[in-house]
Structure formats: C-alpha cells, structure tokens
Assembly symmetry: D2
Homo-oligomer: 460 residues x 4
C-alpha cells in the first residue's frame, strides 16, 4: 500500500510531485520521499517520516531543483532501520544516478537477494525494491532500456515502478498488472505518471491512459515512447481490493470510475442482501459510494448516521476510557436523532479484523438504533495478500476464523450480509480480469519465495 | 469562534479536557490551551499553537495533574503577541488561582478596559476576556460567587465562560444566550461543561442539559448548584449561524439536533428554491445534511459529486498553479463520472466571501456538468458579527456588495437561490428566538464600544 | 543570577540586545527574552527556554522591530508555570506599554504582593519582579519618572532594572548598589545599559560609566538625563561574589578589572596560604586569573593540569558510570603527564557544595599527583544570599556544616586553605564597600519578608 | 578530520560510544552517528546532524541495544545528499551485517570506485569510505579477516578504521599510520578503540596501547587477537598536524602527551623566535600549552590576554557590525587591563587563512597593546592535505601566497615568527617519523587519484 508519482519535462518538478503525493496520501501516511534530477544529471533525495502534507517545507522543496522528479508515500515504517527502507531509492551506478519508486510486492525478492548477496552485493535495508536496482546495475546489457527490461523480467509478483536514469524517466507495470499506474500530461507538454488519476487532477494534468500490464514507457523531457518491457503471457490480475477500498472515489482505475464501481457494488449488495429497514447509512468516507448504491437499489432512504472527525492525530487514552472503544469514538460519533428507534442498514466496504466494526456497532446501538443490519460491499477477507496490500495474518482475519453467523453474533448485529465474489466481479467486469486472492485464495503470479520456504513480507 | 471545556470531580481531568478539545477542534484550530488545578489549589497552564490533536503530548498532559481542568481551542492567533492572547487565562488573585475560558465577544470590553487601566490594572494582551478577570479581582463582594456575578453583570454582548477559583468550577452564559454551553455527567459522578455535546459523547459523559442564558452553575467536586448569575430581562438571542454552519452535526444545541436543523433548512430550501435538475450534491462535509434535506424534499437523487481531501496541511503552490484555484483543488476534487452531462444542484451552507465557491463551480464545470444550480441553505451574509463569529469586513462580504443576480453572474451558475430569513428561522423555531444579525443587521445586545467610537474586535 | 541589557536610539535594537545577551550568557542559561518597542510605541515580546545563542533565529529577531529594546537571560526556570516567570515582563498600563528587566532579589516582595493582591491586582507568576510593574501602574504620580521613583522607593533589597515606557528607557540601581549595571555608548549616539561591560565590547559600544547606587537615568533616543531616583542614606554594598566568581574576567565592574581583582585574590591567597609544591594550576576557566596570581606570588610554576570540555550538552549516564564522577569527567580531564609524581596546588574560586571538587580531586589523584594542596580564593561560603545569587540552602553548603579540617578530610587533600575575609576585601578595597553576607552573615539591606515569616526566594 | 570509536564486550555499548563521541567532539561537529549490533547480529544505525552532545536523546540510545557498537563524528557535511555521506556505514552482505567507521582519506578511492562501478556496484553517496565496504563484500576470500585484509591492502592513503561483522569488531590502521587509533580496556574486560585516549578517560577505560601502522586487531567479546593486516614496507608517516592543533591536550598520541608536545613546540619557538616583550599570552584554548612553553623558555610572564566565550551558537550579525570582526569578537574578547601599554607576545598554534588572526590582532591593538609580536608554533601551512585534514585550497592558504614579511604587514604586527620545520620535528622526534606535507609538500603515500587526473576530496 504505497503511492508513487513521477514527473518529467516540467520546471520545478519536485513541487509537482509533492502536490501529487498530497492527493495520494490515503495510500500511505507513515513516510514520504522525493528525489529530483537537476540539469547536471545529479539526483537529490529527501525522505521523511509522516504525512506528505507535513513532512516537507517550502525550503525543503527548494533543495530539490530540476525538471525530473520521483515521489513515494508509504503506509508502514516497519523494519528496524527506519528511513533506510523508505523510498525513493537513489544510487549511483555505471550509467549515472538511478532513482526508483515501487508500489507492489515482489514474490521472488528473497531468492534474488540471496543470489545477489552471494555475488557481493551490499544491501542497505530489507525492502524488496532494493533487488531491482541491483539487477539493473548488474545487467551486462548495453542500453539502459535493456538493463531495466532484463531486471524486470526476472521479477515475479506485483510491481508498478517509476525509474529515473540520468535525465530519462521510465515507468512500467508487471505483466499481471496488479497495481495501477496511469499517465497524464501537462498543458505545456510535460508528463506525470501516478498511482491514481486524482494526483493528475490536483496538479492540472490531463489523464491520458493507464500504463498497460507488461508495458514500459520511456520519457525524455516531453517525448514519450512506449516499449514492450516484458514479453509474457501472464493473464491480467487487476487487484479488485483497490476498487473495493484503497483508491480514492474520484480516481479512474482501469477504465473505471471508482465511485461508479463502488456504487455498483452497493446496488448488487442490495439485491443479494436485502433488509427490512428504515434508513441506510455508510461508515464514512470510504463506504459512502457503496451505501448510496445500496439506498438507490433498495429504495431505503440514505442518511448520515455517523459523523467522522477528521482531526485525528496522536491520541492519548484516558485511563477510564480504556476498553471503551475510545479509538473508534475519537474518529466517529453516532447521530442520536437520526438513529433513535430506527431499523438501520450500515454499509461498510470490507471487514478485515472486525475490531473497529465492533466499536461502531456499539456506538450505533447506544444511540438508540432498534435493529442493526450490517452489509459489507465485498466478500469475507480470508487470505493474506502477497501482492502488496498490507493485510493482517490469517489469525487476525475475522473472516478466516469465523463463519458468517459467528461473526454476526460477535458483532452483535441483527443481520450480516456480504457481497458474493461473483456479484462483486460481475459488477465491474469491464475492468477485469481481477486478482481476488484475499477473498478466494487464488494466487496467480507464482509465490516463489514462499515455495522455497523464505519469509515473505506482506507489506509494501 | 472558539470551543471551551471544563471538567470537575474526575481524576486526570486534563486528559478528559484534552479529549473534549479533540471533539471541538472544528471550533478553533490555531491555538489550544489547558489549565488544571492540583489538589493544592495551584493552577498549572499550558498553551500551544496548532491543533489540539498535535499540540499536546502525553508527557505534556502529565504535567497537568488534578481533578479540575479547563480547555480552550481558538480560531485565530491574530494579535501581535502570540500566545499572550490565547486561553485559558490563569492568574493569581486574592482568593487564590483563577482560571478562565471564554467563548463569545464582549461588546463593552473597550469601555471597561479604559476604566480598569485608569485604576492601575495591568493588561497582558488585547483580548476582551482579560477584562473579566480584572473585574472579578477588583470586586469588593465578600464571596467568590458574588464577585463573579458582579463582574458578569457589567458585561454586554456574548459570553459563555467557565471559571475555576481554587477547587471550584463555575460555568455561565450571558443573559441573551448567544453562544452554546451544555452540561454532561460522567458515570462516576464528575461533571463536564462544553460548548457542544459532541465533546461529552467522546469522553463517555451523558448530556444533562444546556446551561440557561443568564444562569451560573457552581460545581465543587461532584456537587452542582444552579445560581441565577445575572438578573436581566434580556431576550433570548441564540446565534442561528451556529446551527447553519459552525456546530458539528452530531451535536445537540438548544434542544435541537444540528443534523435535524440542517436537514430542515435543506427541505425548506427545496421548497423555496426548486430546480430542474438530475442530481443534487453537497459541498462536503458541512453541507451534507442540508443537501440530503434538499434531495428528500425535491425528489432529485442525492449524489457524491465532490470528494474532500482531509489531509490538508501547509500547502506550497507550484508557480504554474497560481491563480488556478489550487487551494480549492487541494481540498476538493470533482467526480467526473457523476457530473458529466448532468444538470446539478450544489448545496452549500452559506456564502461569505464567495472565493471558494467560485473555484468549486469552475471545478464542477470542468468535470462536465451541463447546468449548475447553486443553493445556499441560509440567507445572504450582509453584516459583521459583533458577538463572536469571525466574519470578514463588509467589503469582503459578497452578499453585502452585490445583488443575488450579480453574485449568480460572478459565480457563473445557471441559477442561484438562498434560503429566506423567515424560512430559516421557522424551520428551527423551537430553538429560538435567534440572533440573525449577520443576515438582518438586527443587533440586540447593545454595541456600547461601537457607540463610543472604540474599535471592536470581530474575532474571539 | 541574571543578565540584563537595554538599548535605546539604535536601529534594529533587538539584534544589538541579542548580541549583548550572547556576552552575558554566563549569567543565565535557562531562559532568555527580548522585547522591542516599535515606532508606534507598541512593545513586542519573545521569551524562550535555553541559551540566547540558540533560542532566537534571525527570523525571530525580524519580528522585533524598533530602536528601543530590552533583554534578559535567566539562570533558572524554577517555578511551576515555565516562561510565566521569565522576563522581560511586558504589560500595558495607563501610560502605554511597559517593559521591565530586573537583576537582583527584592527582600520585601512578599509583603508588597500581599498588599497589592488585597487591592485586586492580578499576578501572572511568582517572581518578585512582578510587584514592580504593579507598583508603577498603581502610582498616582503625574509623571512616569515619578511613578517609577515612587515604586522603586518602596523596595528593599537588590535590584538593577531597565524599564521602557513608550519610547523612553529608564535604568536604575537599588540604593545599596548590590548588582552591577553599566552604561555604554554607540559610535552614532545610541545607548546601551548592561549588567557587565563585556556586553558593550561585543557590540562595539564604548564603556561610559557605572550607573550609581540609587541613581536612575532616563534615555529618550540619544538623549540621556541622570535623575536621583531614590533618596536614601543606604551604605554601598557591592556584591563581592560578583568579583569572586560571577562576572566575566574581561568585564570592568565598579571601577575594577575583574581579571585584576581575581589576580589580587590569588596573590593574597599565596601570601596567606603558602604551599610546598612543584606546580600550580586552576580549575578552568573561572579560576584561571586567581591561579595565575597565586603562581606569580609564590613563584611556583603555572601549569595546565585540567582540560575542560566545552561541548557539554545533555548527558546520559551509562549505568556502569554512576557514582563514578561522570558529570565531572565529562567536563574536565586531568593531564597525566603534567600531574604524575608532582606536588600540586589546585586553585578554585569558591567552595559551595563541594561535590564537583571531590570529583576533581579524585581525577587529579588518579592522574598521579603526589600531593594535592587545595586553595580557595575566597572564604568559606556559610550563609544563603537574599540579594540575588542562587546559593544552595545552608544544609547543602559544605562550609556551613563542616570545619576546614573536616572539609580537608572529606575532599581528601593534603592541605586546604581559604582566603580570609579581610584579605579578600582589602585586595579590592577601591571597589567597595562590599556585601559579603554569604561569607559573613552580615545582611545590610533589611530582610523584611523574612522578618514577617514569609518565604523568601533565593533565586532571581 | 573525524573521530571514531568502537566498543566490544560491554553492555549498553552504544551509550559508551556516545560518551566517547562526547570526548571527540573537537574532531567533528557537523554530524554524528552510532551503530550497534544486538545479540541477534542485527546492526541498528542512527545518524544525525549536529554535535554528539545534542544529537542523541536517551530514548535514541535505547533504540541501539547490544554490546558491540561503533561511533563517528564528522567535521563537514559537505556533499549534496546530507546524511548519505555520514557514518557509520551499515550494510548487509554475505557474512551478515557490516558496519564501518573511517578516519582519513583514501588516495586511490576514485580509481577503485570506477572499477567497482564497472562491475555493477551501487553507491549511496560520494565518500571514499564506501569503496572499503564494497571491496570487502566482493572479496572471494573464505574468512572475514582475509576479506578485510584484502580490501585494506588495495587502499593507498590514510585510514584508521573500525569495522563490525556480526558480533566481531576489527580495528586497523593504514601501513603509514597517518591517523591515530588507540586501544583501551574496561575494568570488566570489554574493549574500546578510539581516535584519542581522552575518549578512554571519559568512560573509565584504561589506555592499553596504540594500534600499530598496518596492524589489524580482532575482538570477539572480551577476546582480542592482533593480526598483521597489511604486509607493507611503508615508512611511518604520523600526521604532525594532529600534535600541532587537532588532538586534545589531555590525549596521548603515538607515545606522546599532546600537552608535552605543544609545550616543547612553544619552548623551541621561544629559542628560534625570541621577542623583547612584557607579557606572553595564548589564543585560547588550543594554543595554551605552546604559549606556556614559550613563557617558560623566554622568562616572559604568562598572562590571560584573551577571554574566550564558549557559548557560541548560530550568530546573526547586526547590520552595523558587518566587517567589524564580529565573528571574532563573539568568540574572543581582549582584557584591556592586561594589555594596555604592554609589549605582548601572542602565541597561536598555526596560521591557515589568517582571517581570524587579523581580527584578533585588531582586538588586541584596540585594547591598548603597545607592540604585538605574533608567534606561530608551527611552520607556514603551504600545501593541501590529501590524507584527511580539511585544509583550504592553496589560494586561501595565506602561507602559500605571501612571504613572511608580507604576512606580517597584512596582520599589522610588529614582528612575526614561525617555528621551523626542523625545530618542530626535532621537538617531538620520539613520536615520528612524521608526515609534514602541509608544511613541506612531501607526500609519501602515493596520490594515485591525483596522478590519474581524478578529483581528490580534501575532506574526510
């Protein structure tokens, strides 16, 4: 769960990348980094902990001159050495300075690392992305394009990458196409590549198209060339969880409006899991679209039953508040006047651990709801993700441990209904085929490290 | 525009106050302060710039022991001497340490200050709240209650105050009742007074009642006494702008759910200002309730046309973005798939300067809306507020300078409709009577400073 | 133990004050503050924790415009409310904005405070300096000069003060003259008042003269007038401890070079307390002058036996280092090659608690010294100071608890010799008469608070 | 100009390293880093800008557990990528985690880097130290000892290094022995290696011996083994500038007390460059020993003519102070009473750019000195250092541009005398042979990069 951005051919590119990261903050809030290549080909780098919006000052951005820049925002700072595992990675190699940002999870990173270490490669940290830069540097191919192509061809799993070598930017997606990556253009001819189209909107770039699975594009200043990076017969495996939860509703992903996709999930959910109720409302903001779809299809009035407090920073729990859902309450409040005496349908996008939901249901009941019908606009999450979504272990996945009826009792709701796998996939079929391994356990890209008994990180 | 909280009779009161300030952050995001009275009667104080959520660490709260505490969150740090003008005010006087938090604006503060200065009083800063503590300290009345009552009786204008003297907490509202202040109880018997009930919800206190206009309550530990503080025939003047925009929708104010009030504004708006349109949507989040009311009444489907980015910190504008509504775009994005080709009703709660609205309308038009019908769930703001809402000067108020038709043209919308003053007041009549001076220019509490030619601050 | 500075009639006065505080950092390292009066007569204030050198940025100083400015550096941040007790104090009163910095200790501050509180005065903190501004504001005298004179006439004890009212600067010393305060002039006509002349040297001002005991000077821009502030027959009581330890050796105080005074102490010490030894060295840097005087007079070669590490910040003690004099060792190291096998005379300026000395002697013995003869260039400190030097309580004063022979044994030195009171006073007789209460217990200025059973702060 | 420390076999080793860095802060004040190896063999790293004393909090040190640790303090943060060029370097390679700290300058680093890059090695920054870790990782030797030996054998120039691989510590010096590195032992059996012995003194470790040129020692826990690391006939080249200026006077280097060495320089200077004068004083503190030696030999009384202010942080120059030696004045003040009317000998350790000296001489003349005889306890610095001392370019070296007589006129002194090269070397002959290239231009270790036209960094 990361967001990546690259800009080429635009003055003060680092500032545009910074703005793009603003729009992608929902993809990672723990660390953020920007590199920029100056006219001399020298890459400067700045990585910080925290939100993009707070991590860089105007002066920081002044230290990153140039018209070519990369940015990365990261969900987790797990790993012992802090920023060593954050991105962009910037190194100097035979062809000059090389920068890389990566979203996804490489499923044979452990095997490749073992091989590289054996050859005398030095690793700074533990993230899988580091193997990519070593593979590029060690390629004996004559051109940079071929070096990158050779390196990417050796990877299995999920990767959307943006790379700079000297003054050239490369952007590529894995042959399965797990993670999104799209392309936009500035009015004056420069280019931006970004995880989601909402980043283009913010900086005033026009959406051009998605980068295709297995495609690599090369941008020099304003000039773009499409290269087939990886000759593979891999079937498409767009991550459906991006549509369910992860992307912003105003983004377009894989030819699909995310808002429209979630609306379709909600409508299908209403058909599959109807309820006798007075009102329907969402767990804001990620479920707003699905709840509205449910309301439309069911004819039950859409309401605002929960209010979300967006000013949530570090929270210090009062001793008497422990165990009283304080972390839920600081984020959400129920509107008593809306809920009191009502039979309510609560729509949420997914159910992972179930702990927040339990707190929310208690809040809703305390506010006087007569009946609570909980509806999830995706199937039960039962399997870990090895392609870049930071899911908890199976032991923590409530859907892997309990039956639907057991979960219903645990959450203390009058009814619980999930969207079916078929219903979900059909609702957005034009954007597929999809990877739904977290729901179905069907892992398509080979899990080579796992097969060789190597530990597989489940975070990006 | 401030939020205030007080806690009595609860261990670690400062932490409860801190949580309460979390819930009141929408009332002030520029500075925050907490005082606490330890068992020895000694008041400690900590004031910071910034959001409550970020200004205090757990260690900071450890330095504020005691079961009696006050908190304040402030909208503006205007004034030359920074935190000198922030609250709580904590001073030492004849009866011991005195702490005060104040929400509102005192309309004879200038006259009183002149008089106090003449007598040798020293002022630390420029805020009106400082006169209250001087009046209390200079009162020759024998009891603390009488000292406070005498002091408050000399004030005109708007004030909700919470005061600590030694181990006792006092909370009072001005006789007109401009600003809200409510009372809640902890399960184990302690009390919390707060600007809005959402603060009670967060800490697990139960809403008991509003403090009445002209009423003062005294709390010693768990024991509460109601005192008539100010013998006045002042007519009630609840600030209707609190319901229109300022309070959180999950709060109860003056016996009224804010969400219900805004819903009623929206429905009345639909009756007064109908539109031929395909969809209706809000400017999130403050207008969600009103937009939903409009959709209900009009039968036009409710949609999510604008997405709000909540991760907005300091923003550094790219040179090429200047003048391109960047500050609007970093906060909002339009969902093209929802808007394209549609005739849309956009509902906003109020129209003050009009600059953000102009940017939003451009965003909506660029996303392909066929027609834009702009609806405001309150009348045009035409007059400054002297009772504690931080309104711009008349020159900046678009409603004071232009006719509705001129504003429509300026905003470039197909139609523009405001809610009428009567319609607004009638929709929430059970909570009145109301002050609607910012719409009508009818100032009820005397504007003594203004009449004497003294400068009147329009910020709290 | 504080340092104060005031500048009048010089552009960018706050920056000159800041530089002056640099030179006075040895007088206080815990908090620092600067106020400045702009052309509009409005006083701005900035107070910070920490060293002057680190507390203010160039941007901070930009926020303090004007040609009239005050500065204060403080030894201790004791007191519950942090910066509330730091200086300058800036308040607004009848005659405009009033700023004050104070060095010394007022011995009837408690009585005055009680009286002021009774009259309704509000106090922000606990420092004695606050009573001065209240007395000024409450004076009914017609002119500012008379108001200040009346206020200062009511004080007993030690005070050097610099005050600004509007565009005028006042500087005064108590009638006994306990604390130093001198006057310098800029080449272009502006004035600086400062605790020590080293502050004048740093900013390029020329030393003019000391301000006299009981004198008040008034400076308006470039024009200076001397006023008799306090008509008193108080005998002079220059604090001799300023010469012994507190002032910088390059300062002139009371017509005396501090370096020359300490040299005289050292020579007299050699006459009174000779030793059979091979080398003499100082505890750097405060005893360098005295040690050199001892060496001159005794003919024993001067050496550098101890090295001081000046980069001492926060120190975290390793578990195995506890009890091993780590805090001494991080500051000093002994030079084995100098000490090994030698009979050494170690000269220190004063002996207060004795803990650092004990660690130093161990260091010196471990480095191989054959005999250690410890010489103190002042008498035993036996009494607390009520006039502004931060001495520990009598229980902590090693000279109050033990005889000289007992101290010798405790420190484990072969001989211990103090300078006699008569010897000390005679050595610098041209600068007296002196207060030597910390050595003799003779308190000349009345200790009114103490006589009335009020607690007397021993810190400034 | 760096300081390095390593600790093995002592609990909480990072805290001991931190203390050691305290003692070595004079060797580098711009950045500081500590790595520690936990019992699992995993190395943690923390690098910061600024002084050791301020860069690490107690909590920071808690994050660096283990009984094996390295530390580095660096003079300069030059280089575009900030902390990328700071140390320790910590990487993961075939044999586990590898940490390295390095003091010195490798004169064939450019050639080696070119070769490594050609083979696909990735570089993080631009410092020469990075080539060492690549050479180790790429060695095909079977044991770690042999890998390190092979790597070090390929280097020319100056290097004292401390390396950790897994739980083992290695410390080595180049065959010429340019930079110091000594060995100490804790009472309970652990070991510390450090640039100077003053670091051992601070933590309570006993000085054991210098590590020999070309020697490598290996420490596992408490067990130490000496290995011949590099079989070379290189002649000894101890850097004499370490004795002249760089090391602390309480350190022992190469069997020599630094204080004694400087004293000998001062005495020899007095013999070579006598003066008719009344007093002699030093530029504190680095020249104290030499000045004392001069005074002893000449019989002219030693005085304290200059006072140094040690509280020097960031300084903001007042507009009127520009060009008035403010940076000199904030650091030094002259004592008028000592200097007035006197013929003075001022002793400084070296003369590099001459700018500070010019300011000092003006200060001394303004304070009334009748004659100024400037004496330098080393020869004119005429050549750059390629072995790790950060000297300015030849253009900036006053000794390279001007004759002694020209310098005398420029400084405006009555006489100027340098110590001769022969006099200097003879005074400390027992510690040689020495590198005196900065004085003589005789570079002994080959300057391979320079010969191949590669740019040679002159900073460590």
């Amino acid at each position: 769960m990361c967001g990546i951005v690259g800009v080429s051919g635009a003055a003060d590119a680092a500032r545009l990348v910074f703005m793009g990261l603003y729009a992608l903050q929902h993809r990672g809030q723990e660390s953020v980094g920007i590199s920029a290549v100056n006219d001399d080909g020298y890459a400067r780098l700045s990585r910080r902990g925290g939100l993009a919006a707070e991590a860089f000052s105007d002066e920081d951005l002044d230290t990153l001159p140039g018209s070519l820049s990369l940015g990365h925002t990261r969900y987790s700072t797990a790993g012992g050495a802090g920023l060593v595992n954050s991105q962009p990675i910037v190194v100097s190699y035979r062809e000059g300075d090389l920068g890389l940002v990566h979203n996804g999870n490489i499923t044979n990173a452990g095997l490749l690392r073992t091989e590289l270490v054996e050859e005398g490669a030095l690793f700074q940290g533990t993230i899988d992305s580091e193997v990519i830069v070593h593979l590029i540097a060690r390629s004996r191919c004559p051109s940079v394009e071929e070096q990158i192509t050779e390196a990417l061809s050796r990877l299995t799993g999920a990767f959307s990458v943006i790379i700079t070598v000297g003054q050239t930017l490369y952007a590529a997606r894995d042959p399965w196409g797990y993670r999104p990556l799209c392309l936009g253009r500035f009015p004056d001819g420069g280019w931006m590549a970004a995880s989601e189209s909402c980043a283009l909107d913010l900086v005033g770039a026009t959406f051009v198209r998605d980068i295709e699975p297995g495609e690599m594009i090369r941008i020099r200043g304003h000039e773009l060339t499409s290269l087939k990076s990886i000759d593979s017969n891999a079937p498409r495996q767009h991550c459906i969880f991006e549509l369910v939860y992860f992307t912003r509703p105003d983004s377009r992903v894989w030819g699909q409006s995310v808002d429209r996709a979630r609306r379709a999930f909600g409508r299908q959910l209403a058909r599959e899991q109807p309820a006798e109720a007075d009102i329907v409302f969402s767990v804001p903001d990620s479920s707003n679209s699905a709840a509205l779809g449910y309301a439309e299809e069911s004819g039950i009035p859409y309401e605002l039953g929960l209010i979300r407090n967006h000013y949530v920073g570090r929270t210090f729990i009062h001793p008497t508040q422990q165990g009283r859902d304080f972390r839920v309450r600081i984020k959400y409040n129920a509107v008593r006047e809306v809920l009191e005496g009502q039979r309510v349908v609560v729509v949420d996008d997914s159910l992972v651990r179930g702990t927040t939901s339990m707190g929310l249901i208690r809040l809703i009941r305390e506010a006087g709801a007569a009946e609570v019908h909980f509806r999830i606009s995706s199937p039960p999450v039962r399997y870990p993700c090895f392609y870049g979504i930071d899911m908890p272990t199976r032991e923590e996945l409530i859907g892997a441990r309990l039956t639907v009826e057991e979960i219903r009792q645990r959450l203390n709701v009058d009814s619980l209904g999930y969207l079916s796998l078929e219903g979900m996939v059909d609702a957005v079929s034009e954007s597929g085929p999809f990877c739904h391994a977290c729901f179905s356990g069907e892992y398509v890209a080979p899990l080579l490290d796992l097969e060789h008994g190597l530990e597989v990180p489940t975070t990006c």
